[in-house]
């Protein structure tokens, strides 16, 4: 079997944020301190080695980058200051661009200008469309009910369209990931039974992010704080997504909003606000090693999310206090940031929402498959001659 080597791989990855890979001298300190490295998945050193050797075809089939939650202990430990944690982060960015069949993700990661430009264009198109629609159908002075500027029925349909596009991209990328990891990357066929057996991994990792907590446990943080906030941010985001996608008509039905929707809305907002503020503050203060280097896309990520949350809340407040014109303006700004955000999701860091649980799922399947195969091999030794 031949192995293809990409000699410029290490330089390519520089654009994704891994700047110091060539410093690594393969001592293995990082793998030793990593809370998640084990017998089957040994990283970060091995990933660093593949990277140094330019084995991009090999790396795109590995799951190791997704198993890392960037606690930063490897980077603190590294005697060469080669920053293995940041390398794993960059590999995740690179993998996102690799799973993405449109090639947009790679462009966004490599050039901040392209990304910002794309966001502005989408935002402007959305804004002008909303303005045009609202002014032609409704009144600027009415927020909800009859003759509303942006009636909830229309927004609901609009949301579903955007959500559909988003889901399409995500599913295609996830299938691509599955193909790379489980078909191309697996040296032997995996029994379908394992897929069913390990299916519980998907919701389990999605809703608990238990492995992240393990990282923080080893670091000894009080309440495993970054994990808790990350979980809060994720749950808030998912709740809000469901509210907006499914229950938008109830959210915007009129002065009376059902209490369930209300409570979920507030909880989700708290999660989002706390999470974004924590991560923005972290990136400014750089007090944890994982915040030392911020890739351009990281900033776009948190800043855009922050705008969405702020305008969402402002719009709610204006609506409740009767400042309907202001509410309509903030609504448009809100939509102008939501649509690019959602459309960008499959091409950005935010898609790790899907890839991470999938990676855990595939990792568990692969681990089982390897154990199974080892058992078979140990019972029936392969006769070479």
């Amino acid at each position: 079997m031949s192995t293809r080597v990409n000699p410029t791989f290490i330089d390519d990855l520089d654009r994704f944020g891994a700047e110091d890979v060539q410093l690594c001298y393969q001592c293995g300190d990082c793998s030793t301190v990593c809370p998640h490295a084990d017998e089957v998945y040994k990283f970060p050193r091995k990933s660093m080695r593949f990277l140094q050797m330019g084995l991009d075809r090999k790396l795109e089939t590995t799951l190791e980058p997704w198993l890392c939650y960037y606690c930063g202990q490897c980077s603190e430990q590294c005697p060469r200051e080669a920053d293995p944690g940041e390398t794993m982060m960059s590999l995740r960015r690179w993998l996102i661009s690799r799973y993405d069949f449109t090639g947009l993700a790679g462009k966004f990661f490599k050039s901040r200008a392209t990304e910002v430009l794309a966001i502005i264009i989408v935002a402007l198109i959305t804004g002008s469309f909303m303005l045009f629609y609202g002014l032609s159908r409704g009144s600027f002075h009415i927020y909800d009910g009859e003759g509303a500027f942006l009636p909830s029925g229309f927004i609901h349909k609009f949301d579903l369209t955007v959500g559909g596009i988003l889901a399409l991209f995500l599913i295609m990328n996830a299938i691509h990931m599955w193909y790379l990891v489980m078909i191309k990357g697996s040296p032997f066929p995996v029994s379908p039974w394992l897929y069913i057996k390990q299916l519980y991994q998907l919701p389990w990792h999605f809703f608990t992010q238990k492995r992240y907590a393990d990282c923080e446990k080893k670091r000894g943080h009080a309440l495993y704080m970054p994990w808790l906030l990350h979980l809060g941010l994720m749950l808030g985001y998912v709740t809000m997504l469901i509210l907006v996608m499914v229950f938008i008509e109830r959210l915007q039905a009129g002065p009376e909003i059902r209490w369930e929707v209300h409570i979920f809305g507030y909880l989700a907002s708290i999660g989002l606000i706390a999470g974004t503020i924590y991560f923005i503050r972290g990136r400014f203060r750089k007090h944890y090693i994982q915040y030392k280097k911020s890739h351009g896309t990281d900033w776009v990520f948190v800043v855009l999310l922050f705008i969405i949350v702020l305008t969402g809340i402002a719009q709610h407040i204006f609506h409740r206090t009767g400042l309907l014109e202001l509410a309509n303006i903030t609504y448009i700004i809100h939509l102008m940031s939501v649509v690019p955000w959602l459309l960008r999701m499959p091409f950005s860091k935010w898609s790790h929402l899907i890839y991470r649980p999938l990676a855990m799922y595939f990792a568990a399947i692969r681990r089982d498959a390897i154990t199974q195969r080892e058992t078979i091999l140990s019972v029936n030794p392969v006769l070479i001659k």
């Binding site: 293995g28 030793t32 017998e39 040994k42 060469r80 200051e81």
Partner: protein, 600 residues
């Protein structure tokens, strides 16, 4: 002779101001034109022939960091104009060392010599001046001892200054040397005795250089000799004083793994072979003579005087040799190895003393045992000969070495002594398992690679992969690491961990470098003049470096360098040259000298 000076200098060398040098060279005699040319693109032959014709040049000086690179163009131009191609002179700033503090003066001198057609090294060698035939050696380790013996055996006076109570240094602490597994003491102690008895060597122990003045060839040195409190000539090393001494402190010679008294002899073969009193722990001295003093009464030779004052010694010497050695990095600041927390995590020097037959356990390799200390009323872990031998030992290489947070450099000896430890443990403890965690095996010397192979043959598990953590699990130490060659993560249960700790310069290095006016490199070691050409000289004439204080090196290299230094020192007595190094001459001195050479 009509001369044209052409500067061709890349912008890399920022310590030189080319404009200023060009202005200076314009005022030199016979210089018709001075031009600063662009390096890229190269000046064309046509342009150069035009210039030669225009100014009617007979000699061309090419000045720059690498003038030889541009010479062919000038040679062609000179040949076309039917000039003498031998009169193309190179003024190379790089080759003649125009860098550092007086780079500008140096560069000017280089250009001046070239315009006069005088080879720069000829003009820049200072004239001989009388050299004092006495030599001062700072540091009494193997480097200092070797140099002292070489010089003294040639019949010249040597002052050997040693900070502790005995000469011998670190080598005296070792059990075996790698790769031959010779007994270190068997090589060293005869040399120590020779030093102690040599009529040409004046040994000053417990002494420190406090000031140096003068110039190359005649340095005046002030040495402070702290009191030893025991008369070296009268003491017969009967040990009676030590028996009655009530004070117990950690022994420096045993790397802190055993205790000694306040009046003690570092080790039985110490030179001078006499006891000494440690003023930092002696009750009598600390209480200003109010308490204790039993050793004075006990001594049968009446040679202990606890009120002895310190001496200031003034000497005049021609050359000074630095052989101040090294010490270990403070490994307790690298927390993940648990040094100082887990009892059986040892530094390399501690293990060296443990395995030494003259050590506290008599050479038995054992783990520490718990013992109740009545004084502090605490349990403490100590080595005792009855201790249990370890069933498994892990040796971790590169602790603090090749690490950007601690020492970025390789300490050079750790790989080999770690392999030696593996051999010694295998030899002394039956059925022991030894793990070596290494990053890269640096077996560079004669017979070293073979030694490394031999250790692998002996059944030591040599793991390619550095361990970053030592943890305690139910009273058992666990060393985690990645076995890269076998592609697995490993966790070994071990009873003892030996850390191959990186080496750093001794704390006095900085003070000494300031006192002598010589440079240190970024890691704190003394800088040699030229790593390839003159590895023993410093940038100040008459001051030499030998052994570890220049950079980490093993015993064979140290001894070789020490002998080389002795050759340099002895050479200075006869040649009277090379005492002041090139950098010690000023611009005007070089110019004046170049003129005399030119006129001959």
């Amino acid at each position: 002779m009509r001369t044209g000076v052409f500067f061709l200098q890349t912008e890399d060398n920022r310590s030189l101001n080319i404009d200023s040098i060009a202005k200076y060279s314009a005022n030199l005699p016979d210089v018709e034109t001075v031009q600063i040319l662009r390096v890229k693109p190269l000046p064309s032959v046509k342009f150069l022939t035009d210039q030669i014709k225009k100014y009617n040049l007979e000699r061309i000086v090419i000045a720059g960091d690498i003038p030889g690179y541009y010479k062919p163009v000038f040679t062609r131009a000179m040949a076309i104009t039917e000039g003498n191609t031998d009169e193309i002179r190179l003024a190379s700033f790089q080759e003649h060392g125009a860098r550092g503090e007086n780079a500008m003066d140096r560069a000017k001198a280089i250009v001046a010599c070239a315009t006069m057609g005088v080879p720069f090294p000829l003009a820049a060698v200072p004239g001989g001046n009388p050299v004092n035939h006495a030599t001062l050696i700072i540091g009494g380790g193997i480097a200092g001892i070797q140099s002292a013996l070489e010089i003294a055996n040639a019949g010249k006076q040597v002052f050997l200054v040693e900070q502790t109570g005995t000469i011998g240094g670190h080598m005296a602490m070792f059990d075996k040397t790698f790769p031959t597994l010779d007994c270190a003491a068997c090589i060293l102690t005869p040399k120590m005795v020779s030093v102690g008895q040599h009529e040409m060597i004046r040994l000053l122990t417990k002494a420190k250089v406090i000031s140096v003045s003068g110039k190359p060839g005649s340095y005046r040195v002030k040495i402070r000799q702290s009191p030893r409190f025991v008369d070296v000539k009268a003491c017969v090393a009967c040990n009676l004083c030590s028996e009655v001494c009530p004070v117990k402190v950690k022994s420096e010679f045993d790397a802190g793994i055993s205790l000694r008294k306040a009046v003690y002899i570092p080790f039985p073969q110490a030179v001078p072979n006499a006891y000494l009193v440690d003023e930092k722990s002696c009750t009598y001295i600390l209480s200003d003579g109010k308490k204790c003093g039993v050793c004075v009464k006990k001594c049968p030779k009446e040679c202990i005087n606890l009120n002895e004052p310190e001496h200031i010694i003034d000497i005049e010497v021609g050359n000074i040799i630095l052989a101040t050695g090294y010490e270990l990095l403070d490994v307790s600041k690298i927390e993940q190895y648990g040094y100082g927390v887990f009892p059986n995590v040892l530094t390399s020097l501690e293990f060296e003393r443990l395995t030494n037959a003259s050590g506290t356990t008599g050479g038995h390799i054992v783990t520490k045992t718990k013992r109740f200390n009545k004084k502090s009323e605490k349990d403490e872990w100590v080595f005792s000969p009855e201790g249990i031998p370890p069933a498994s030992v892990a040796i971790i290489h590169c602790v603090g070495s090749r690490n950007k947070k601690y020492n970025p450099y390789c300490s050079r000896v750790c790989c080999m002594y770690s392999l030696k430890f593996a051999h010694l443990i295998k030899e002394k403890v039956p059925n022991v398992t030894v793990y070596e965690f290494y990053i890269d095996m640096r077996a560079f010397g004669k017979g070293y690679e073979e030694f490394a192979e031999r250790i692998k043959q002996e059944g030591t598990f040599v793991v390619r992969g550095h361990s970053a953590s030592v943890a305690m699990n139910n009273g058992q130490m666990v060393v985690k690491g990645e076995d890269i060659f076998n592609d697995r993560l490993v966790e070994f249960k071990v009873d003892m961990v030996i850390l191959a700790v990186g080496l750093i310069p001794t704390p006095g290095t900085e003070e000494l470098s300031r006192m002598l006016g010589i440079q240190r490199d970024t890691d704190g070691w003394f800088s040699e003049l030229d790593y390839n050409g003159s590895p023993t000289d410093t940038d100040k004439g008459g001051i030499y470096v030998a052994g570890m204080c220049q950079a980490p090196k093993d015993i064979p290299d140290t001894v070789a360098q020490a002998s080389a230094v002795a050759a340099g020192v002895l050479g200075s007595f006869t040649s009277k040259k090379g005492i002041g190094h090139m950098s010690s001459l000023t611009l005007s001195e070089i110019e004046a000298k170049a003129k005399t050479i030119h006129t001959i």
